[in-house]
Amino acid sequence: MTESIKTAVALLENGENIIIGIKDDTKVPVKMNDIYYIESVDERTYAYTKNDCYALRGKLYELEETLDFRFFRCSKSMILNSRKIKNVRSGDNARMNATLLNDEVIVISRSYVKDLKKRLGL
């Protein structure tokens, strides 16, 4: 068993939800809890954590189906973890700017603001 697989097994045994990411051509288990957002760029999909970026296999819409309730679509090319949002602020064009825990600012498109509010029970 490789180190990555051992880590993945250990995480799964602890009840952690994981996703397999690729970094420097190595498969790495990434804890769902650590993912800030998943983005599709030029037909490729990436998961971003606080300090790292991992390539993922599969299309964004395929991954969306496997993600839990914490994740929601915030634009055509991005899925955001609602637990990593520090605050939101109404922006231009009836969109919203979400500041994440790492101070990165992500735009939530107008059509997906409704979805976020629904998930938050508003």
């Binding site: 990593k84 231009d92 064009n93 825990l101 498109s109 029970g121 508003l122």
Partner: protein, 140 residues
């Protein structure tokens, strides 16, 4: 906020401030010892103008990823002004230059007030969302 919601809020806020201004105009005239009367179509004209002037807001709410630019805001203001003055002409809100200027000043006041109220409503919504996000946020 959805497109329809913004439009309906703006319609109500515009109509509200127009009625407030007409009411104040009546009050000032009364205190000055004048008597002013309104034509039968005045309330209807307020509703029509409120709906018409809310429509240009669509200029500011684009489906794409465009930006809320200064030229677009200026264009929005001009569209609203033209609509109000055209409606004012039809509904005889002004019959002389003095009342034309008066109507223009009233337009600017209502326009600014509507944006202030809209901004405050957006802020209130942000606050509501942030209070829920705070409860579910991960600790880092």
């Amino acid at each position: 906020m959805g497109k329809l919601r913004i439009l309906s809020i703006q319609t109500f806020v515009i109509a509200f401030f127009m009625v407030v201004i007409i009411g104040l105009e009546g009050l000032i005239a009364y205190l000055a010892g004048d008597v002013i009367g309104f034509s039968w179509y005045m309330p209807l004209s307020v509703v029509i103008v409120a709906i018409l002037t809310a429509i240009p807001s669509l200029l500011l709410i684009k489906d794409g990823e465009g930006y809320f630019s200064i030229p677009r805001i200026v264009l929005h203001g001009i569209c609203c002004y033209v609509m109000v003055m055209a409606a004012g002409y039809v509904f005889k809100w002004y019959t002389s230059l003095r009342y034309f200027i008066y109507t223009s000043v009233m337009f600017i006041i209502v326009y600014v007030l509507v944006w202030v109220v809209t901004k405050l409503l957006f802020r209130a919504e942000d606050k509501r969302i942030n209070s829920v996000l705070e409860k579910i946020r991960d600790e880092e």
